[in-house]
Amino acid sequence: MKIREVVDILGAKVVSGQNNLNSEVEYAFASDLMSDVLTIEKDNILLLTGLANLQTIRTAEMSDISNIIFVRQKKATPEMIQLAEENDMILVECDYSMYRASGLLYSAGLMPVY
């Protein structure tokens, strides 16, 4: 699924990586716990999270995750956006709950990692 479609489905706002919205993503993982994110071995993942701080971006960097959706109206800070841009990441802000966002993307065919 293209990130552009993800953004449309979630009625969300892109705050970093606007030029890469045609990139494809295959799997999604939803978690506020970064330690759990760090255990994921699959590639080409989109992360849905309600945790918006610098360590969210660092965790994605170490896990080779290039796409992060912030749910529950959480916002990326300028420092987070800067770090994301340095790592060619797409950051998206979404007003929906984690459950609603996950449900919509799952129904649209984005696969779970397990």
Binding site: D32, L33, M34, S35, D36, V37, L38, T39, L51, N53, L54, Q55, T56, R58, T59, E61, M62, S63, D64, E79
Partner: protein, 137 residues
């Protein structure tokens, strides 16, 4: 090749800086991306542990053609029971650490899972030494 990175206890803004640098170095050296991910995830978890629990620490990193050795030495409270600390779900992390998305007792098991060799020694009220090795072939 030898590298050293200082890690500041309590500074969550900088947590991950060493792992980020090492990732760039390993990419330049054309190391297999799967191995890079294992190395930097393990180092990142170890870095977060020092930031979360210790006062300061240093990561000593040696890269050769067949192995990456990482030795993290910290000054801190130490670990009274390493076996207990290795158990999934056991954590003494503060609320502040949990708010950063860590402190669920996953760090050491995840380091073990990603490294080919792991050795932890610790002295209470002095500090902890975490040694990890990753085979490149």
């Amino acid at each position: 090749m030898h590298f050293e990175f200082n890690i500041e206890g309590g500074n969550f803004i900088k947590a991950g800086a060493a792992s980020s640098q090492l990732k760039k170095i390993l990419k330049q050296l054309n190391v297999d991306p799967k191995i890079i991910k294992r190395v930097v995830v393990a180092l990142y978890e170890a870095e977060v542990n020092i930031v979360a629990h210790a006062y300061s620490g240093v990561a000593f990193i040696d890269i050769s053609t067949d192995i990456i050795n990482i030795r993290l030495v910290d000054e801190g409270p130490g670990i009274p029971d390493i076996q207990l600390a290795m158990q999934k779900g056991y954590s003494t992390a503060s609320t502040a650490v949990r708010e950063m998305g860590f402190g669920a007792g996953m760090g050491l098991p995840n380091i073990k899972n990603n490294s080919d060799e792991l050795n932890i020694t610790s002295e209470v009220s002095k500090g902890t030494i975490v040694e990890m090795a990753f085979y490149l072939n």
